[in-house]
Amino acid sequence: MKNKLKKSQIQMGESVAILFIFFILMIFGFVFYMNILKGSAKVEIEENIQLKAIGIAQKASFLPELQCSDENVRKEDCIDLLRLDAASNLIQQNHIYYFDIFEFSNIRVEKIWPPPTNTWQLYNNTPSNFSNRLSTFIPISLLNVTNDIPEYYFGTLIVEVYKR
């Protein structure tokens, strides 16, 4: 009787030990799985911010408010300086409307050549604290139609997208 009791006690102890090890293994597995999930989520977030930066840069470079046109035919990679002056005021006045398009970003146009260089601020919504910033430089022609002969300057559209 005593022997039988001891044997069952040992078996109970074994079962408890097995359960304990099983739960430890389960916790290890869960922690490991969560780490994997975190890693892949980080990669996806990084890819998404890159795609978002490209999207915003594309939207900025094809903004109808800025594009040059000749008899209603759009010219590629060209910004009309008269429109640029008007649009920079318009965008600042309608900041909420343009937030849907450009979100947290800073968009400006720089005249590179001929000197002197000049900068036009188009949109600026820089968050107070951000973790990353992706800059895209798009070379673009700047058309000046105020002279007798229209002139094209060498400029750059700079789009900085912020990740909070």
């Binding site: 892949s40 890159q50 001929p114 992706l134 002969i149 060498f154």
Partner: protein
């Protein structure tokens, strides 16, 4: 005796299965954990940059050269090359040849853009029949994104100046 051998074989089979499953799991985990984010932006920037810079550069007008575009200035330079080209440009009150003007301004523009953005590049403007380039700056020995713009110099199209810009990867 026979039974022991059979059980040993079964054990071996089980061990092999366990090893195979472990290796597969390790591969799967390493693919998920060590996966680097795809460089969408770099790819997009490199593809677009060379094309945009060349199209913008060739469209730019130079007030120093009677409001001619860079395409026309390259055509004029290539027409006379390697002999001194016509002095259509005027910089700082003194006349300057189109080739000399191109050499200076092209390098200046590329330096102010790609140079300032820390992007390595190689620019070449050369006539097909002539081994010496009209303008050459930078070097790109490795992998690169290549963009070429041919500009016809004469109406027959036999003489062509090729403008190439390589963005190093």
């Amino acid at each position: 005796m026979k039974i022991t051998k059979r059980s040993q074989m079964e054990m071996m089979g089980l061990a092999i299965i366990v090893i195979l499953v472990s290796i597969t799991m390790l591969f799967a985990i390493s693919f998920v954990v060590l996966r680097k984010p795809a460089e969408y932006k770099q790819e997009y920037t490199q593809t677009e940059l060379a094309s945009n810079i060349l199209s913008t550069l060739l469209r730019t007008t130079a007030s120093e050269c009677n409001e001619l575009s860079f395409t026309e200035i390259y055509q004029d330079c290539a027409k006379h090359y390697p002999f001194p080209s016509s002095e259509l440009c005027e910089v700082g009150g003194s006349p300057q040849s189109t080739c000399h003007f191109l050499n200076q301004t092209t390098k200046e523009i590329l330096n102010q853009t790609l140079g300032n953005w820390h992007i390595k590049y190689e620019f070449n403007a050369k006539i097909k029949s002539d081994p010496n380039p009209i303008v050459s700056t930078g070097s790109c020995p490795g992998v690169k994104k290549h963009k070429i713009y041919p500009i016809p110099v004469d109406p027959s199209g036999q003489k062509t100046v090729s403008i190439t810009l390589d963005i190093c990867s």
